[in-house]
Assembly symmetry: C3
Homo-oligomer: 359 residues x 3
């Protein structure tokens, strides 16, 4: 779910929990408080289930009907929804982002103490910052560098010549194969593989000849990489994600792809080799993008669409087909498979002198 807001001045200090006065939450999330400033809040919950010591939010118009029976301590909502809210509320132009800030106060981060677990296997010439946590059964190869504050979770494998910036978190079982460079605060979920060989093949008579993949992968600050997502390393130059790119689970990024800052790709998207995607792009679930294309900034591709030519105008694009009742779809499909023939026939039959054939 995605919501939009404008940034409202500099962020105030993070209050200390475990529970909070409603006024503290309002101040921290820069909301207008309507209600009891002293109310104690001990958690967050959904609109339907929140109790009087919990904060909920309303950002999706389809859930507006739940407001009347809401028992939350307070609801984060837009000004337009305030009159209908029977409980205390926190008004913000982007309720979702304000709620995200509040919810983060209640997130419990398991401690990951600095140091190297004795079961980890580290190359003698790897450099591990003293403040980093290296978990059980991790392997780190030659010449790799782990920055301050990093958490390298259990079962991760980090190959040769990788550099991980400050405060990155590899949750568990992540593989960086070789020549992968992460910026700061990069978050990678389990099973992701960065820096595997790109799919480079040349024909050699009737056989395949493997094309060496000599490039690397560069990931900008604040990127997030989903579970079981794969990002291949480049053939000659690098595969690049600029800062604040967000990839969901099971996304596949081919070699030499470049994705611009602040773009987000939903689950199961595939981007073939050497394509460039601009900044602030949104790709819906299961979108496929052909190789060697250029997609400009601020393009939205709706889910289940294929992009097979470059896009030079910002806007919304798509080619997904919603499912129909099977028998009806089957009949439409028969017509689609004969569409050119039928259209030609119909155009020929109906053509008039005023309307020449220009198909």
């Amino acid at each position: 779910m995605v919501a939009a807001t404008a940034t409202r001045g500099s962020a105030p200090d993070r209050p200390e929990g475990p529970d909070f006065a409603l006024s503290d939450l309002a101040g921290y999330a820069q909301c207008d408080l309507q209600g009891d400033p002293q109310r104690r809040i001990r958690g967050v919950a959904s609109l339907a289930s929140a109790a009087p010591d919990q904060v909920a939010f309303l950002a999706n118009a389809r859930l507006r009907g739940l407001l009347a029976d809401c028992r939350a301590g307070a609801v984060v909502l837009a000004a337009a929804d305030a009159p209908a809210c029977p409980v205390d509320h926190l008004i913000h132009p982007s309720p979702h982002s304000a709620f995200a800030r509040i919810a983060a106060l209640f997130e419990r981060h398991e401690p990951r103490p600095a140091g190297i677990h004795p079961s980890a296997v580290i190359a003698p010439d790897a450099r591990i910052d003293a403040s980093a946590h290296i978990g059980p059964q991790v392997w780190i190869g030659s010449r790799s560098v782990i920055g301050p504050g990093c958490v390298i979770g259990p079962g991760c494998t980090i190959g040769e010549d990788c550099t991980i910036g400050a405060d990155c978190r590899l949750v568990a079982r992540v593989s960086l194969v070789a020549r992968v460079v992460l910026g700061e605060r990069v978050l990678i979920h389990p099973g992701a593989v960065l820096g595997a060989d790109g799919f480079g093949l040349a024909r050699d008579g009737e056989r395949w000849l493997k094309v060496p993949q000599l490039g690397g992968v560069r990931i900008g600050d604040d990127c997030e990489i989903g579970a079981n997502t794969t990002i291949d390393r480049g053939a000659l130059e690098d595969t690049v994600l600029e800062e604040d790119v967000r990839l969901d689970n099971q996304v596949q990024i081919g070699h030499n792809v470049r994705i611009g800052a602040h773009s987000a790709l939903a689950g199961c998207v595939g981007v073939a080799g050497s394509t460039r995607i601009g900044r602030h792009c949104l790709l819906g679930g299961a979108v496929g993008v052909v190789g060697h294309l250029d997609i400009c900034d601020r393009v939205v591709i709706n889910g289940f669409s294929m992009v097979s030519s470059s896009i030079t105008e910002p806007g919304v694009y798509g080619s997904g087909i919603p499912a129909q009742e099977h028998r009806r779809w089957r009949r439409n499909l028969v017509r689609l498979h004969a569409l050119d023939d039928t259209t030609r026939r119909l155009l020929a039959t109906t053509r008039t002198k005023d309307e020449p054939d220009h198909d």
Copy 2:
């Protein structure tokens, strides 16, 4: 492959192998035996390759032609196919399920003795039942509980606050990230990731703000989760699979999804966040379901279809397009991309007084 049968009374005792009299197999699988009850059976095989000491089955009408040359010791089949069968046979209304029961007698389960492998790393406050097997290079985090009879295979990582019911099997390299609860007899194949952060983002000006994912994942009894499948944990409440849900490989389940009992999702299906799928649903390969939908019970979605609105009637739905010869498809595609314009033109040309435009 899927076959249907009615349950026929209570299950008889499992006979002891390694080989069996044909009459024992017939009794165990509740088939009518036509042939030599004393015939020794030492394995199972396909209709085309089965030897005289093996059992085969016929459930797919397209394979009926193989019956004439079949050399199996016995064939499990429906009554209608019995007259054409040249060898002994076991008649059952659902040959596939009867064969599944027989084949299971020949499955060799590698022993996984109770106990914790010395290379496993277990948090001091995790609770491991004495009858569970914890394999090599496993990591188990704080407050997690492993039930009796579980097999946690090599390289699995189980984060904090997970609870695994009796007799679950995590084959190898499975990750449960945090707050994942499994029922009993859940089977999870390698590379699956349960409980990773859902893809929750809010816009914060031109940047992304991560929405904390505070919920968990709950998996019912007898579920099966395929290799490299991902199931994210909920944002506020849990992502839920009810009992006996079957997910194939590389399925992606977004946060807060709920899937009803006895539903099955084929390979590469993606279900976006907060969608509810009913009981006894079947989703074909690579189906994509948009977020925040409700799919009722007993819905079948054919493979390669997109579901982008809720479904309230049981039935079969689809939108997949079978491939055509490329040049023909290209011509149809040109017409499809101009379909509205062409249709408008044709309707305008052909419209008669009797048939007003209501498009």
Copy 3:
């Protein structure tokens, strides 16, 4: 990227680096040299960035415009492009494959010494060739055999009854579950899972009954398996990849599939159970193939297409739909969803005596 060439006689000896005379590279890659045979070459790079001590290549006509400003030491190109090349060049009918040979001379392979890492856990009855490298945190099960020269990277799990031929490389975190047989020189990238249970289910009343998966997986010589790709083992017989099959990342191969030699499947392809794909086939990204089909040799399926019936003629097939501007696509979609009704109406209106309805 794929390029074609004919094999040109037997391969000459591999020259010794780290740097090379241009004439040595020309001889090794069987190119015609036009330029300074003594020029020292120290690496490879792209056409746009190559320096005077690097070799670049031109195989994609869209990059021809970069030739004029190229500063490379030499460019591998086709004879037709030679006149426009301002620097030394190496002429070859397949510049991509000739370049691949040259680039391989500059690939640095991290040493993986023979022997078993002390953190690996190996069943007593597994057989490991003395020349194989078994990396950290590897697990190898009973009766499995690792051939000479193999590299089993960190975190791999190899179950019971697997056999790995000479000179295979499992990069990291690969799982072979059980009964997986690899030929020689098979390369498998991280996160791949071979030999997991096929998705075999029979209906047992209102519940699912699991069908035992008793077969294995057989992979031919020189195959390459991408990151997070899954290949299930067969139900009764084996799932088979013949020699020199190339699978990209996140490909899903169902049980009992057979793929012919020299075929290549791009990222995110799914092939359902029991389908046979011929030799020299190419499947584009995200293609889906339904189960129980036969695809003949030398079939090309364009990306994002569904194949739902057998193909008996070599050629190019497809059903992918390129994305359009959203509002235009929405209007076309409304027409597509009513295509049969509209077509019937139009045909009825326009039908003449000379053209009877045969739809």
